[in-house]
């Protein structure tokens, strides 16, 4: 039936005189136009701004300043501090998500009652709005009535006002929210590992750790790296959680600095340059991961 329907459809298109190429273009062109107008054009336009002293809030003439914005940003210790904070956050947050997410996947990758229900419940955090999660966790961390201090017996420990702890407190929230994402991908990877490999390992009396490091981990690694790539890119751009949860300079990630520079201080040219620096850093990190992913696949 499906074949007949396709033939009829082909016939109708052919009757209108549309070639396959035309039909393909009809589908592709709107998307292409959308991407050009809303992605590529602003990208190129902002690249031009990054070489100027343009400020959107004033009527001053725009001057070409060459690489001055880039030079000043890269020599600004505050920007380096923002990058350091971001790197710390990415390492703690993504590291935590991988450990927790993969651990949960290993636990769920066996026959347990209500497995489907448990998996669904574990996925709930990542379906929530970032703003809601941020506000919700602020309450949980509250030193006066938050349940975290009560449960851990920490008295009135101030998670979000302590400059040394605030970043980790935000990272814990991010881990809670996004570890299920890593878990989901890891589960897909684990279920794809051929069972006969485990059977062969069992016949050879291989230990649990040996089986895990020589069979499970290498075979799940490609999909795990994809999860890490996604989460690293997202964590690097994190804005909502640290912005909502803490005002500490120790949680001012590069995205927050960029927002303030662009939309509070209206340093349009300079913030465009910073956006490009961030873009280059994210591309570089992603590239390293992708190269590693290809190596893993080749093994």
């Amino acid at each position: 039936m499906a074949v007949i329907a396709r033939l009829e459809s082909d016939t109708r298109a052919a009757a209108r005189g549309w070639s396959d190429l035309t039909i393909r273009n009809i589908f592709i062109l709107p998307t292409l136009a959308f991407l050009i107008v809303f992605n590529i054009f602003p990208l190129i336009y902002s690249l031009g701004y990054s070489f100027t002293d343009f400020r959107a809030s004033v009527n001053d003439p725009v001057n070409f300043v060459g690489l001055q914005n880039y030079r000043e940003l890269l020599n600004d210790p505050n920007i380096w501090r923002n990058f350091t904070v971001t790197a710390q956050y990415v390492i703690v947050s993504v590291g935590g998500q991988v450990i927790v997410g993969f651990g949960l996947a290993l636990l769920l990758n066996r026959k347990i009652p209500f497995k489907g229900l448990i998996t669904t419940l574990l996925l709930l955090p990542m379906m929530m709005s970032m703003a809601v999660v941020g506000l919700f966790w602020k309450l949980l961390y509250d030193p006066s009535w938050g349940i975290i201090n009560y449960a851990l017996g920490l008295g009135s420990f101030d998670w979000l006002s302590d400059p040394d702890v605030a970043l980790y407190a935000v990272a814990i929230t991010d881990i809670w929210m996004w570890a299920p994402f890593v878990m989901l991908l890891s589960l897909a990877g684990l279920s794809a590992v051929p069972q006969h490999l485990y059977e062969a390992a069992a016949i050879d009396r291989a230990g649990t750790w040996y089986t895990f490091t020589r069979i499970t981990l290498p075979l799940v690694a490609p999909i795990l790296i994809i999860a890490i790539i996604f989460r690293t890119m997202e964590a690097f751009k994190s804005f909502d959680l640290p912005f909502i949860m803490s005002g500490q300079p120790t949680t001012e990630m590069i995205s927050i600095r960029l927002y303030k520079m662009a939309f509070q201080e209206w340093q349009t040219g300079r913030s465009s340059a910073l956006a490009y620096i961030v873009l280059i850093v994210v591309l570089a990190i992603t590239n390293i991961y992708v190269k590693y992913l290809n190596k893993v696949k080749e093994r």
Binding site: S57, V58, N59
Partner: protein
């Protein structure tokens, strides 16, 4: 017959056009989301009743206010005919061409004499011209728990400890002593609630209040000299005092603004709470504050040298250059500055800047906080109003927040760093 039909049709079209033209006389005023905006909406409904011109007060949360307003300005959008903008926007609003020059209007109506001097200087004037009409006067003040202060046991214990009577603090030293006295974390009672939110100007305004009363300043607004002024000994002492006060705040007080500071009173958390007067009507409302009857108010206290000032809040109302209804907006302003309208504005809860209304006994006795507000409005000082004020604010937050809330470094290091940052900013924009 045909001619009649055509005539009727044309008449109908003309009527439709007239109706549409009348419907088009609508004005939109943009402001932040807070009680005074609701009072303004009530006030402008009367303008609608008088003139038939619909006026809508459109609001957005404070955290979003500046970004949303300037995004619209930068796009030269006509969504807003008027904006009740922050005083520090005057530089960016005027030099950026976003505000209509109201100098002639101001002079014609002698508003420099009609409105309180500080409100004219800070809400309206920039670079020798007037860009706004003082609309909502405001200043940082304090609320306190009268029942805690007047408890005989507390009074006795306080006198025994500090050697003077417990009462409304006359200076910052007394403010500190009282905050320390009531700081009892084991009883979940705390001494004081101050602004610490560093996402916009909340913490900066709290610190300014201390700095100004300590006899300090932010810089020389005419020469842009900051070194030796922002990091003066007076300012260092004021910032050290602010940090000390932070030690007597409730837990998790590291990023708070007006809502939390009002909650400190409504939820029995603190003995004293800093806030702008515009937020005090909520504290005087028994439906919102169970302690309303026991809440008192006072102006920002003196510093060690006897100087007494307060950080300016409040806003002026400006006409947006890109509005399609500038003439109609001008007519609205003419109505708004009328004495009877200013009186009505005050009656509704708005903080009029009209000297006549402010000085009247009726106004000063209308609420428990109006007297303190009246006193404050004649001793206010403000932040920089230059176009690059946001960069100055960011630097202030970045330098002072880690010291006040995070306990990093010293006040002198923080203020020396701030002086260097501000110098660099002013040099960047060719002001020095």
């Amino acid at each position: 017959m045909l001619k009649k039909k055509w005539t009727a049709l044309l008449a109908g079209a003309a009527m439709a056009f007239t109706v549409n033209a009348a419907a088009a006389t609508e004005l939109t005023i943009f402001w932040a989301e807070w009680d005074p905006a609701n009072y303004l909406q009530e006030l402008v409904n009367e303008y609608t009743a008088e003139t038939g011109v619909t006026v809508t007060v459109e609001t957005t949360p404070w955290s979003d206010f500046q970004t949303k307003a300037f995004t619209e300005f930068n796009a030269k959008g006509d969504a807003y005919d008027m904006v009740v903008g922050d005083s520090q926007w005057l530089g960016a609003g005027s030099t950026g061409g976003h505000y209509v020059d109201l100098t002639d209007f101001f002079n014609e109506h002698k508003l420099a004499e009609v409105m309180a001097p500080a409100t004219v200087k800070y809400y309206a004037e920039y670079d020798g011209k007037y860009w706004a009409i003082p609309a909502e006067g405001d200043a940082a003040g304090w609320a306190y728990r009268k029942d805690w202060f007047e408890d005989p046991k507390e009074m006795e214990a306080f006198k025994a400890k500090y050697g003077y009577d417990l009462g409304v603090p006359e200076d910052y030293k007394q403010l500190r002593d009282i905050a320390e006295f009531f700081y009892r974390p084991d009883d979940k009672k705390y001494g004081i609630a101050i602004y610490t939110d560093n996402s916009y100007d909340a913490m900066a305004m709290g610190i300014e209040s201390a700095v100004f009363s300590y006899g300090g300043d932010l810089g020389d607004y005419s020469t842009y000299k900051v070194d030796g002024i922002i990091n003066s000994p007076e300012n260092i002492a004021a910032v050290e005092m602010y940090k000390e006060l932070y030690g007597f705040t409730p837990p998790n007080w590291g990023k708070v603004f007006f809502q939390e500071d009002n909650q400190a009173i409504t939820e029995n958390l603190a003995a004293m709470s800093m806030n702008f007067f515009a937020f005090f009507p909520a504290l005087d409302n028994p439906a919102l504050n169970p302690n309303a009857a026991n809440t008192g108010y006072f102006a920002n206290p003196k510093g060690p040298s006897g100087a007494q000032h307060a950080a300016l809040g409040g806003q002026g109302i400006s006409i947006v250059s890109y509005s399609q209804n500038k003439e109609e907006a001008m007519k609205f302003l003419e109505w708004f500055i009328r004495d009877d309208v200013q009186q009505k504005w005050a009656d509704l809860g708005g903080y009029t800047c009209s000297q006549a209304v402010l000085k009247s006994e009726a106004f000063r006795n209308a609420t428990p906080y109006n007297e303190a507000f009246y006193q404050s409005m004649f001793m206010v000082k403000d932040f920089w109003a230059v176009p690059e004020y946001a960069e100055l604010l960011t630097a202030m937050n970045n330098r002072l927040y880690p010291y006040v809330v995070g306990g990093e470094g010293t006040a002198k290091e923080a203020l020396d760093g701030l002086a260097a940052d501000w110098n660099a900013t002013f040099k960047k924009y060719g002001r020095m």
